[in-house]
Amino acid sequence: MAAYVSVGNIHAFYLAGQVHRGQSYRQDSWSSGFTFRTSPFKVPFPWSSGVPKALKSERCGCYSPGVSAISESSKPCGSIRAVSVSSSTKYYDFTVIGSGVAGLRYALEVAKQGTVAVITKDEPHESNTNYAQGGVSAVLCPLDSVESHMQDTMVAGAHLCDEETVRVVCTEGPERIRELIAMGASFDHGEDGNLHLAREGGHSHRRIVHAADMTGREIERALLEAVLNDPNISVFKHHFAIDLLTSQDGLSTVCYGVDTLNIKKNEVVRFLSKVTLLASGGAGHIYPSTTNPLVATGDGMAMAHRAQAVISNMEFVQFHPTALADEGLPIKPQTARENAFLITEAVRGDGGILYNLGMERFMPVYDERAELAPRDVVARSIDDQLKKRKEKYVLLDISHKPREKILAHFPNIASECLKHGLDITRQPIPVVPAAHYMCGGVRAALQGETNVLGLFVAGEVACTGLHGANRLASNSLLEALVFARRAVQPSTELMKRTKLDLSASEKWTRPVVATARSLGDEVLSKIIALTKEVRRELQEVMWKYVGIVRSTIRLNTAERKIAELEAKWETFLFEHGWEQTVVALEACEMRNLFCCAKLVVSSALARHESRGLHYMTDYPFVEESKRIPTIILPSSPTTASWSSRRLQNIRSSSLVDC
């Protein structure tokens, strides 16, 4: 798992602004806590003033003769009409990976400038957005202010937020909401026609816009409808993104598109484009219990890391303390619950008591506020109990309250538990913390740019500097909307001055689909079975050693165990006929999960303080000198593991000097 980061590379990445080594650089780790003289999120990128030669295809002219894809105006760098030379290679001006709010919002805007492909690994609505049911925060009340929203955000973020990012998001939020309404999203309002704004924890003002209890779903619905009606946008569902297509142009890494696996047809489809937006969401499934749907396997973060993009703040994983623990239900659900059922604070607020399985009330030991302590304190306390006692869940008991009140206030919990043989008016509810949101991700500048030319990011996959060490409630949909919109202008500018060399489609080796024919029936099923098991084991390691309460010893153990697990898995694959470029959905997700898990562990090891969501028993306090983001630079191409290397190689015969 060791990665090689040379000082030479560092200076190459950050040409402007000075970089010096932070205090927590580790030789054998991917990450180093670099500090920057100026805000790290403002570091200009070396490519920002020009377009590398590779993208100016002087020799071949725009298009090969057999393909009539030149726009009517015959402008040399005009928009590509969507071209399919073969079903296995497609050309679009813009490729969007992910169909949540960030991806769709961006797609709708850039579709006014060129052709767009939206790639999504399941049904288009299957995204974290769709499960984001609270609301979107924005300053929409005259008595509210951008400064107040900013302040709330930065306090929640434990002051690790980038102030300029926070200002931009809080300022532009209201306009983004209005646009959504204009696009047909329907939010709750009052009799007088005003938007109904709620006030959520951490906000000092009413500012949450919402649609009953399904805000994310409503936004997703409105955007998807607009996308499906847009003739310039093609949606490719059940297309799993495998790896980005990149190459080096001098000091810059340039992105040319992405290889995907069409899951339904079991074939590889290559997308070449001038601009790529990564909006692939979160990575909840590196943990065993998560609110995220199954698609959230950290694909984007992993692909970006393999493509040499800088990753930031991965240690800040948001957990909810009390998700319904299926293991504690008398009748276990027949199929594993896809996303966790979170039990509201209100149960504790109304008098619910937490017990461990020894029926000891433990909260008073940790905090004098007991069950009414802040959520992060409760989460750490539960985590500590579970680790100390080596148990799988704790109990939340509300049964001492009047039956009618329980059923009136918490009918959803009551019915869900009753379905599984538990009566919450008589018995305690089994609960366990669940992973919910990744505050970190692919480092984005103020317009969603990354250090890879042609690659932009928005949404949960990005680390924009908004959330800092902890996300403020309802700020994630907002961040996605704002950054998706902000990425439009630089994307469009880049698209307009880019010529895509269509003959370069075979510059990279193609992934090959694993089939029963190529590997043998038995081998393929063994691999899939092992992969499922390895995924479970990885999740257990992450929960046990990289959970809510961390320590250097535990993190080192995690690093070692993950490396062993990865080696064991990869060895099995490669000993049974798997090769570098072979792909299958389960295996590709697994390599992404490994990659993300390692990013989280490395980042957690690099932060020698406790701040926000990251808590270390050996560094339990906040350290002002450590109030800087954690940065992970790309690893050397010679790194051994399959999860850390891009699948495709560049064919040596196509290294042409443009």
Partner: protein
């Protein structure tokens, strides 16, 4: 944008948060977030939005939608029934938390 020009009349009540955040830790765990607010009854008129013209027109158009639940305390139409979803800080409905 209109909202940028609006003068802020009320200081944020979040000032208690910063003090708490910087408190020395006497217990095993430090706390970085404020305690959940007291159970509060909804205050319908306090922060009622006066949106700009476009928004209001749009809302008025949408109002004619069919039979929707109207919350008598807050005046909210189409919203959740029962107690205020954010009364304890997170966003809950009927016991299930969907945002925090």
């Amino acid at each position: 944008m209109a909202t940028n020009k609006i003068v802020r009349l009320i200081a944020p009540s979040g000032s208690v948060v910063s003090a708490r955040f910087l408190e020395p830790v006497s217990r095993f765990f430090s706390s970085g977030t404020p305690p959940p607010p007291q159970a509060q009854s909804p205050t319908p008129n306090q922060d009622n939005v006066k949106p700009d013209q476009n928004l209001q027109e749009k809302e008025e158009e949408e109002e004619e939608g069919g039979e929707e639940f109207m919350n008598k305390d807050t005046g909210e139409i189409g919203g959740p029934r029962g107690p205020e979803p954010t009364r304890y800080g997170d966003w809950e409905q009927r016991g299930r938390c969907s945002d925090f």
